[in-house]
Amino acid sequence: MKKLINDPFEFVDETIEGVLLAHRDHFQRCEGSKRALMRADGPVEGKVAIVTGGGSGHIPVFLGYVGPGLCDAASIGNVFSSPSPDDMLAATVAAHGGAGVLHLYGNYSGDRMNFGMAAEMAEMEDVEVKTVLVRDDVVSAPVEEMDRRRAVAGLFFAYKIAGARAEEGATLGEVAEAAEAAAVNTRSMGVALTSCTIPAAGEPTFQIGEDEMELGMGIHGEQGLRRGKIMPADAVVDEMLEHILADLPFEAGDEVAVLVNSLGATPPEELYIMYRRAHAVLGQAGIGIHRAFIGEYATSLEMAGASISLLRLDADLKRLLDAEAYSPLLPRAHA
């Protein structure tokens, strides 16, 4: 294992310290938790607060989505492990600006269990909470069992849409509706070329041959759709889009936002080579591209590979996607 770290067990706390020191105008700690950060200008009085969280190892997910036009606070756990309910509760109470809190996060059982407890405690403390789960990975369960699907880079679209709706002054119910609209109109799929290594584990999460790739792998190394010999970028994109397009399904005349995301080790050049093909395939299918986002939006430590996410847009989603947003950890979340 080659990593620029100190004590592997200090990995998460030292990451948070570094983020806070580098971006002290942007973040502050939530009272009562070492593992929760919120906007420096939070809580924003009268605005619905959006709180997210999950395991570490995915930057910019989750801390990097805290900012104006995005989430208000995030709590993170150990690498690939859920934060505790206490950290989530601390984030919820700290970010609450009097208009209720939306818990918006990925559909993983540990996160659901712990956020569920935090929501119950928050309600005991008179903070109204609604929950929306992102479940965009088409490979993780059949479409008729969408509620079993896990979340991957499609989190970006949900944060962007819900964050913009909250900034518009919408009610908690309206913000939750916007988040759900983003979630149900987003489809993603990934491809992994190499494994990641959890610092405290010290060994790669899985073995994969030098000439192999795994299509559909999750962002913690969850088993994908198939493993095979590595193919040229165009063929990989064709196969990924085949699954993504058929799933919603996306149809001629639809307008979409495209996200080509690096899982950590894949360089921007390769993402643009993939995007080039995606652009052509969508064009052939008669699907209009409103905007493209290329870069690191949801990573899996040093895993090599990428994911493609599509969000089907209507007028409302387009307006919200194009609204101002900012975080120093994001490549480009604003127009």
Partner: protein, 214 residues
């Protein structure tokens, strides 16, 4: 005792958190046959966490004391049992939100709320060898007691009786969740360790309300 106010609830938690760690080895051995053997330790650590939190509870209403006890337990003993047990206490606490004391008539609803909270959180259904299989029979027994106009000590006694029977029934069930779920039919013949733990807690409660009756 006909009602449990905040001070009495704290006194009960004092007794409970002193007693439960004594069952550590029995729970560990049971759990070693079905799970990973850590339930005894989880209970010992979690109960100590509640005990350490008791000092912060005066001034809180009983519902909040239950909820905060659950959070304290799971904070120090984070685990599947920790999350499920915390959920049970939070759901029961939420059911009596705003009340200054727990009365016998509150008990069936509290246990039902705990059962539905546990089911929603962990996805378990009746008959799958989980604490749901003691909570549901206990809620039913409490309902009958309340309908018959029973006193708090009598209802608690009946709840404990229902628990003992329910634990025996979990022996015949096949585990579907957690590590026990991998054992499938090999899990038959062993009672559900989590249910045994709940039964021991209810026994403690029954003795507590009995002992303090006029």
């Amino acid at each position: 005792m006909e009602r449990i106010d905040a001070a009495q609830l704290i006194a009960f938690l004092q007794v409970l958190t002193e007693e439960m760690p004594a069952h550590r080895d029995r729970l560990r051995e049971l759990d070693a046959q079905l799970g990973d053997g850590d339930l005894g330790i989880t209970i010992a650590i979690g109960m100590k966490a509640i005990r350490d939190a008791l000092a912060d509870f005066p001034g809180e209403e009983p519902g909040m004391i239950l909820a905060k006890s659950g959070m304290a337990f799971n904070r120090e003993a984070a685990s599947t049992f920790g999350a499920i047990f915390a959920t049970a206490l939070m759901s029961a606490g939420k059911h009596i939100r705003g009340k200054d004391a727990i009365e016998v008539g509150d008990l069936p609803g509290m246990v039902e709320a705990a059962a539905s909270g546990v089911s929603a959180r962990g996805g378990a259904r009746p008959g799958e060898k989980t604490i749901l299989d003691v909570l549901l029979p206990m809620a039913k027994a409490l309902e009958q007691q309340v309908a018959a106009g029973a006193s708090l000590p009598a209802a608690a006694q009946a709840a404990h009786g229902a628990c003992v029977e329910a634990v025996a029934e979990t022996e015949q069930m096949e585990a579907k969740h957690g590590r026990g779920g991998w054992l499938k039919e090999k899990s038959i013949g062993i009672p559900d360790p989590g249910s045994v733990a709940i039964c021991l807690m209810v026994e403690c409660l029954a003795r507590f309300v009995e002992g303090q009756s006029p």
